[in-house]
Amino acid sequence: MTNQKLVEVKNLRKHFKMGKKQLKAVDNITFDIYEGETLGLVGESGCGKSTIGRTILNLYQATDGQVIYKGRNLQENLSTKDRKYYQEKMQMIFQDPYSSLDPRMTVLDIVSEGLKIHRPDMDKKEMSDRVYDLLELVGLNKNHAKRYPHEFSGGQRQRIGIARSLAVNPEFIIADEPIAALDVSIQAQVVNLLKELQRDRGLTYLFIAHDLSMVKYISDRVAVMYLGKMVELTTSEELYEDPLHPYTKALLSAVPIPDPKIEQQRERIILTGDIPSPIDPPSGCSFRTRCPMAKEICAEIVPEWKEVKKDHYVACHLY
């Protein structure tokens, strides 16, 4: 990890129209991703974590705000050539290894699809060689190239998805719940692979997940989201040692630890109530309806996003 900013997200908003109302999936979020780091993004379903990933890649058009990649604002009108360049540098790995691969394409076609677009001058031989290399890199082999997705297990499919994302030599990869659909014993294989690739190729990851222990393990820094807003961002050690936001605390304490002795001694914070609808979020701080520490001010004023300790950002009236 260096101190060079690779991606700067500034006041990003993504609102969806829902009839007459607006769903604020991403509501005024600002953060940076440094070169070579893994930034974990956690939150419960519907908090907008996937929407952030997709908006950064321009799969969704941002409603407002900027995504700056190496100093260049991607929300501006870019020429087709520039757009292609950035599409090449930023790739995505999807959650569901079953629906993210076209069942009618062979692995060779799937992995080389990006190459066909971004390296039109590559000949067939070169291309298939490149695919074989990639397959080997992710722990598959040459013989797999002629097969179709249904012939593979979930873990192997996820490896194909990773190979596809690496085909065009990206610098930045958004991994959206890449292990959520996999069995425990397979999850570790894929996580180790992602870490290895990062080390060997200097990749930068935005790792979106809901599994806190895995996120802590893979990420350098972790951002926590709740209802379209970022509530806390800090290094992963700091987040687990000294969580500040009441939501982060509750989230951490809700994760059951697979160790009977520790589990017996733990005091669990159980949040009452459900996550409110993002169409009609509570006034002020959106967490206040479930927050055990809520005060009057929380209903009135949206808490500011501020750095309360070095590299430790939080949006809460308690700090």
């Binding site: 419960e44 379903s45 222990s213 687990y240 989230l251 697979p258 160790d259 009977p260 669990r268």
Partner: protein, 345 residues
């Protein structure tokens, strides 16, 4: 506490398919005691849900073959019951909570009516009484304004709320056994904590025995006192929570624990995954099904299934490493909270 309420013995469940018989569950044996919680853990395809469904006899009759074993509930073998007799047991004595709260409720029926349906089925009471009972149940599982919410349809409820409704329905006639098949897998962590808490509170109040089926070792620790680990249709190890987490003997159990990062784990230590992927249960050979992925595999493992060895009164394991002729293997560091880097890297 020590009386057995449900005992499954030597259960074999197979399915007919184009590729011949698929042996989904092979020789599964376990006891569930009164008032206790037993967890069955395993990965997808290990046969844990099939075991649960065969207790409830919810498997498709046409293609399911149960050619061996017994499921004894309070002295009677459920496998010999007729469809009618089974209907009396199902939902009243033994009930089940399913994984997906989104699909296990009828979307066209009001919540109140769905809860009352189960009550009216098993108890000869008037609709009015059933309504009162349904309201009590929904209050018990923590649904605010229960009377009001009974008029809602399932789509107006969140996932956690729906799972509460399903638990309420399962509890409708005070079952003595509650089978929960991945009850929190589809839920967010903070909601998962609520539901697990709810199930524990209900157990305290009603003394129901719970059989919980899950792939999440964290949930196991939170809920259960005893654990059975399943792999490829067989129970490979069973013991108390402490025995499984601190003194496990089966390499698969070790592998499961090693492949999970702990909240306090050092990030520079790589995870130790289990190599390969779970076997195809339609193509099993005679030996130990874990042999192909086991780091301690010996010749014998490929051809002969190990017998069950008893470690203590509550702890048993099926592994050739327990044989006196096998080399002594030290249990690896299971990546607990004080990971020794030199050993694991």
């Amino acid at each position: 506490m020590t009386d057995t309420i449900l005992s499954v013995e030597n259960l074999d469940v197979s399915f007919q398919s184009y590729n011949g018989l698929i042996k989904a569950v092979r020789g599964v044996t376990f006891d569930l005691k009164k008032g206790e919680t037993l967890a069955i853990v395993g990965e997808s395809g290990s046969g844990k849900s099939v075991t649960a469904k065969s207790i409830m006899q919810l498997l498709p009759k046409k293609t399911t073959v149960i050619n061996n074993g017994s499921i004894v509930y309070e002295g009677n073998d459920l496998l010999t019951y007729s469809k009618k007799e089974m209907e009396k047991i199902r939902g009243s004595e033994i009930s089940m909570v399913f994984q997906d709260p989104m699909t296990s409720l009828n979307p066209t029926m009001k919540i109140g009516k769905q809860v009352m349906e189960g009550i009216l089925k098993h108890k000869k009471i008037s609709k009015k009484e059933a309504f009162v009972r349904a309201k009590e149940l929904l209050e018990l599982v923590g649904i605010p304004n229960a009377e009001e919410r009974m008029k809602s349809y399932p789509h107006e409820f969140s996932g956690g709320m729906r799972q509460r409704v399903i638990i309420a329905m399962a509890l409708a006639s005070d079952p003595s056994v509650l089978i929960a098949d991945e009850p929190t897998t589809a839920l967010d962590v903070t909601i998962q904590a609520q539901i697990l808490d709810l199930m524990k509170n209900i157990q305290k109040k009603t003394g129901t025995s719970i059989l919980i089926i899950t792939h999440d070792l964290g949930v196991v620790v939170n809920m259960a006192k005893r654990v059975a680990v399943m792999y490829a249709g067989q129970i490979v190890e069973t013991g108390t929570l402490e025995e499984i987490f601190y003194d496990s003997k089966h390499p698969y159990t070790w592998g499961l624990m090693q492949s999970m990062p702990k909240l306090h784990q050092d990030r520079s230590v790589p995870l130790i995954p289990i190599a390969g992927s779970p076997p195809d249960v339609s193509k099993l050979h005679d030996g130990c099904p874990f042999a192909a992925r086991c780091p301690y595999v010996m010749k014998v493992c490929h051809n002969h299934m190990p017998d069950q060895s008893t470690i203590s009164g509550t702890h048993s394991v099926s592994c050739w490493l327990q044989d006196e002729r096998a080399p002594h293997v030290e249990k690896p560091e299971l990546g607990g909270n004080n990971v020794d880097k030199s050993k694991t890297s």
